[in-house]
Amino acid sequence: MDNIFAYDFMIKAFITAILIAAATPCIGLPIVLKRFSAIGDATSHSALGGIAFGLLIGINPILGAVIFSVIAVLSIEALRKRFGKYSEIATVVVMSAGIGLTAILSGFLKNGSANINSFMFGSIVTISDFELILTIALSALVVFVTLLLYKEIFAITFDETSASLSGIPCGAINTILMILTAITVAVASRIVGALMISSLLVIPTATSMLISKSYKSTLIRSVALAEIFTISGLFISFYLDLRPGGTIVLIGTAVLVITASIKRKK
């Protein structure tokens, strides 16, 4: 059998995967609990537009993705307020705009389809040194900020009215959460693929919620699960010659389904 760690690109792949898997649940938990899971999809489709844009004008596609994702989440936040209880409309509108933009921008790319493709489905094994550093920096930022604001994020996720009554700046914290979501989605789209990032945001958290008995343990276990999914996904995809992103997501889905059915029997 081939030694997986004999390959430089696999070592890089493992480092990025471990970091992304630590960062995504930190964002995924509050998003899922605020019933806002769909934001991952809306943002990732806008991120694709940013990737196409980056490839077109010759800046790093991940940076393009970060810029477009941030614009997307801020638009969602602005639009949400207009629709009151039907705020999910905003998510769908922004997602549609993102898809439209990606379609048009990628039309201008000469041999762009191959490149866009690698972002749709992820290409963890071909990341450059610059992208590795970017991933390390941005993932560390996400983990650091969500831990720093741990009690504030819990409070606004559980009950925004009480949170604002007790003086927590809910607007600012929500905006920070949204921007971190954008960053996470943009960075992770390179690794697991834009079409699959929202599952990495949601599945570890969803699985963890089935087996945890507190907010804290839900968070810790969702990070642990995300690590298990990505690391085992990398191993399996390497030896079976599968696409890593898809393998990671399918392992997660399988574990979620199994956990849910075991829980149900009890």
């Binding site: 609990l33 019933r35 720093l148 604001l149 741990y150 009690k151 504030e152 819990f154 409070a155 559980f158 009950d159 009215t161 009480s162 949170a163 009554l165 007790s166 003086g167 927590i168 919620m209 945890s212 008995k213 507190s214 907010y215 804290k216 839900t218």
Partner: protein, 244 residues
Amino acid sequence: MNNEVIRVEDLNFNYPDTAVLRDVNFNLMKGDFLGIIGANGAGKSTLIKLILGLLPYETGKITILGGELQDVRAKIGYVSQKANSFNTDFPATVREVVIANLFPRKGLFKRFNKADEKKVDEVLDLVGMSEYKNKLIGSLSGGQQQRVFIARALVSDPELLLMDEPTVGIDAASVADIMDIICRLNKNGMTIIMTNHDTPTLLNAANKLLIFCEHGYEEFVSTSDLSLERITDILAGKRVHKHG
């Protein structure tokens, strides 16, 4: 220094097509217990939300502890009507829900410490929920959840406690327990504003009363010679002269 905790002056509030509050005036001193009585839709919750700043008032003035609301936030506790209408599948323990309300004492970024944990134990003990500390909030009964939300309001040692029908859905024996706890806090100087459809219970605990009725409201600055019959009359729309 005076001991005035809250002063409401000429307060008016309307929803787009419903006039709710007209020229409401009252003030409370430290240690007062104000009961608010009135039919469904009379404007009790609206008044409480105005005091908390959850709704913006059009005209009038509310002064709390001598200052503006944002400066005294940390000194106000609140138990909302149907506090237990949160998402019951939320993965949080009783302890996590209660400690979250210590935010005003901590400020941004600071972590909770031993003293904070002790404070949580103390208030959970007060409402008789200690043994449920590490249970998921969604796994408790409605009345137990309500006790937890009362503990949450108490954890930051508020000087003014606003409670909107805090004993709805709680069994009679527990209502007595909880009113006991609240009255004890009141005797120790906590100012209380409470709405409650259980008029006898409220009349028993409160020393001041606002009764919302057909033509506006009646204020009683003492409840000592107020009878249940009289309150029923006022609620039914029979005019009485202002008291006290």
